[in-house]
Symmetry: C2
Subunit: 223 residues, 2 copies
Amino acid sequence: MSSPVCIVGGTGALGFGLALRLGRSGVAVVIGSRDPGRAQQAADRLRERVPEGTFSGAGNPEAVAEAELVILSVPFRSQSETLTNLKQALRPDQLVIDATVPLAAAVSGKATRTLGVWQGSAAQQAQEMVPDGVSVVSAFHTVSAALLTDLDHDLDEDVLVCGDRRADKTRVIELVDRIGGLRAVDCGPLEMARIVEALTPLLISINVRNKVRAGIKITGLTE
Amino acid sequence: MSSPVCIVGGTGALGFGLALRLGRSGVAVVIGSRDPGRAQQAADRLRERVPEGTFSGAGNPEAVAEAELVILSVPFRSQSETLTNLKQALRPDQLVIDATVPLAAAVSGKATRTLGVWQGSAAQQAQEMVPDGVSVVSAFHTVSAALLTDLDHDLDEDVLVCGDRRADKTRVIELVDRIGGLRAVDCGPLEMARIVEALTPLLISINVRNKVRAGIKITGLTE
């Protein structure tokens, strides 16, 4: 992978965990944050955990400028504002991997419930908001941030990938497959994100009941 | 299990597959259908496949009368009408296990899309329609009818169970666990059926792309 992967919201739990795992897999990671200082602090913490990794941090527009793949891992509350602020920074050759989950917690509701998004899903909202030519693929909703962050934990679960163009999904699937223990599963067009985004509150409900960090595996696929 | 399990819609693919597996597990099954003759024919076919099983067939109201547990496995198109017709037959001590999926195919849409149900989910519609005192638990949405019917196939997947009362879910979990290779996972209250019912179109989308019979397994739970 020539250019680094940018993680917008890489100071948050999921983004940080993905950065750790990607960095350990030899992928250079640029952490993006509204606050460049916080992004750099996150990069420092990543370097402590994975000394062999290549990490940097910058404000969101600068971080995005360096990357072909941009993972958007922000609370749903901030997704729209973040994308508005990135309108000038995103270029037509870039691919946004949206991991946003419209949890009702965004409006002080329950984390086991979702909000209805006018476009159908957070990923489809992202697709509507990015500049022309920028593609959006949806992924990483079902992987526990805590398990990603625990580098001693051997992952063994699937990442459900939704997107409208096969070539875009192939790029995302290749990225996912670099992380040991994760398998990417093509779930169809971006509209299927309506369903996949709802798996996060389902897993939260299972977690609460069973005191676990649940994930998803699709059965019946040949390895 | 003292009384038989009734499967309303047991002449359909999912209901028939569940009947096969339950019958083979030593659970007596009564097939319900609008047409008593078709129910009896289904029972005959079940007996051919599983000679050691106990199968009978009857019109829906008569079939329901014999059972404590009633599995509702009908197309979404027929769910409301079926429950209306069962209003006089269902008794307060009975538990309805709803397996209905509101696929858009019910209104000539795609099987990878769902309909919005006013009550939130087909299971919640069922809960609204059953007589007072009858409980509804949601289950069996993610198990392939074809794999259930193929008795040479070793199942190895989860059944996601949603319901408002723990005691009801325990009864359903015990039933699921009688079928070898299926593990029941408590997903929380009945409202979570909104999410679980949408897993059927997700799996259909995965099936189409990969030419498989996909199912779901929750990772991170201790066996």
